[in-house]
């Protein structure tokens, strides 16, 4: 039952990885050939709905599901005890999938004036209330299973991954409850303040701790080196928990709210540099002296690449959150570029690192093709940055047009079609890389050579020395 629960979350995430990003690439055609997309309105799927489907399936489907599968895999191993009540985690996986399918149906149907079934107004919180109830119920089931496992652990020391993964699940429940339920008690400006809190914490308090906990597990094991600094890892966890919740309102600096709330958000955003420093230092210093392992280990490659994207996005975030910069980039695609750098870049790389690490260990099969694994890696190395640059270029040009030249947003379309075309093409290549990753894993189920503990994930790469023996 334990393996079934992990596999359910893991393989469901792969399905959503194919659906979510592909919809994103498809809907980007709206910006370069809007006339071609008119047919979508005829089938009740205009851009406004497709965008919601894209964000919901990528965030809740691919990213969160893959990190929850990682939590179910990693926490029991770190606690040296089997997962408690795996039936809860297994049932939660089905509830979560049912909620996402229901979400897509209700977004398409767009039922008006229904308390439980209507699309909600908040960004990333568009899922109808019935879907929200199912999501929270699933999170509570996973928390119960994992926390009981931690209570029953057979070693007293908690490695930092357990802090991040379990803490991340608790903050997931809290953030989701506030952003989807508590927010309904407010209106006007109060609603917007809560909404800002939610939409940034959907990344910072849901995806970030789950993703970092996953990477903290993979990096030292894949690099076969001890973690660079225990103290830095703990400083990073607690400063993330302390500073991240206050950052959300930097999305609405131009909004008429008390100035102290804006200042609090900006200061919190800049202070996020501290946990970022802790994480990036630990991830990049741990393999020091043994970086050659990156040639042999796809989990390490993807974790290192994800860390570089994480560093870039976390340097960009505090920079654009300051009032001195925000007035220019607000209302432009710069912001979406930043979101893609975090979610499609950093955390997708961490998710793929987890996939490459976990797959042989939960299925008993090695990956069948080193070449295809390389394709998935180089797609993220070469084409993702070009995709991101196209997005950012479009944002910078739009900022100049509307802020400095006084144009309307519609007048920017003529000056941004080249970067928008670039991002559609390169974004499509990135999606092909994701599909190759899913194909690689699914085909390995049938044709992959048997895997035994201590072996490397890819057959041509030989037998690796187990970590315990290497550093004994």
């Amino acid at each position: 039952m334990i393996d079934r629960a992990i596999k359910l979350w893991f393989f469901s995430a792969l399905v959503w990885l194919v659906i979510g990003p592909a919809i994103g690439a498809f809907q980007s055609l709206q910006f370069i050939a809007p006339d071609w997309m008119n047919f979508l309105s005829a089938i009740a799927l205009p851009y406004s709905k497709l965008r919601i489907v894209h964000t919901n399936t990528v965030i809740l489907g691919w990213i969160v599901m893959t990190f929850i599968s990682a939590a179910l895999f990693m926490v029991p191993r770190l606690c040296n005890t089997p997962l408690r009540f795996p039936q809860l985690a297994y049932a939660a996986g089905w509830i979560w999938n049912a909620a996402l399918v229901l979400d897509l149906v209700l977004i398409w149907a767009a039922i008006p004036d229904s308390f439980w079934l209507s699309i909600q107004a908040g960004e990333y919180a568009e899922a109808p209330l019935l879907v929200d109830v199912m999501i929270v119920a699933a999170v509570v089931c996973v928390i119960a299973s994992l926390h009981l496992t931690v209570f029953a652990r057979e070693r007293p020391h908690l490695y930092v991954s357990v802090w991040y993964l379990l803490g991340g699940l608790y903050t997931t429940a809290i953030t989701y409850l506030v952003g989807n339920f508590l927010v309904l008690a407010f209106s006007g400006e109060g609603y917007q303040v809560i909404e800002a809190w939610w939409l940034h914490n959907a990344v910072g308090m849901i995806i970030t701790p789950l993703g970092l906990g996953t990477a903290y597990y993979i990096v030292p094991l894949a690099a076969q080196q001890p973690l660079y600094s225990h103290r830095l890892s703990i400083v990073g966890f607690w400063t993330l928990m302390a500073f991240y919740p206050g950052t959300g309102l930097h999305h609405f600096l131009q909004m008429p709210v008390p100035i102290w709330i804006n200042e609090f958000a900006v200061i919190s955003s800049v202070l996020l540099g501290i946990p970022v420093l802790a994480v990036v230092t630990n991830f990049l210093a741990t393999p020091r002296g043994n970086w050659s392992r990156a040639f042999d280990s796809y989990p390490l490659r993807f974790a290192a690449l994800g860390t570089l994207y994480y560093l870039a996005t976390c340097l960009q975030g505090p920079f654009q959150a300051t009032a001195a910069v925000n007035w220019y980039v607000h209302f432009t695609e710069w912001v979406q570029a930043h979101a893609h750098l975090a979610l499609a870049g950093a955390f997708t790389c961490y998710g793929m690192a987890a996939g490459y690490y976990m797959f042989p260990r939960i299925t008993g099969r090695q990956l069948y093709s080193r070449g295809l694994a390389s394709v998935t890696f180089w797609c993220m190395v070469i084409f993702f940055p070009i995709f991101y640059i196209g997005f950012t270029w479009s944002g910078v040009a739009t900022g100049a047009s509307i802020n400095l030249m006084g144009n309307t947003i519609y007048q920017t379309i003529n000056i941004t079609w080249i970067p928008r075309l670039s991002r559609t093409i390169t974004g499509t290549v990135v999606v092909v890389g994701f599909i190759a990753y899913v194909w690689l894993l699914l085909r390995s189920l049938r044709v992959g050579a048997p895997y035994e503990s201590g072996m490397n994930e890819v057959p041509e790469m030989g037998i690796e020395t187990p970590f315990e023996e290497a550093r004994a």
Partner: protein, 45 residues
């Protein structure tokens, strides 16, 4: 309830020691930058 399935043992080793001096320097920089530069609208027209 305890599942009968066994679990692979994983121990991740960590280095212990005080924070390096440059980490404190970076933390101080973040604090100063956050409070002095961050909230103020220095450049908008």
């Amino acid at each position: 309830m305890r599942d009968d399935e066994t679990v692979e043992h994983v121990t991740i080793k960590e280095k212990h020691g005080p924070l390096p001096r440059w980490a404190w320097l970076f933390i101080a920089t973040c604090v100063i930058y956050g409070f002095v530069i961050g909230p103020f609208d220095w450049f908008s027209p």
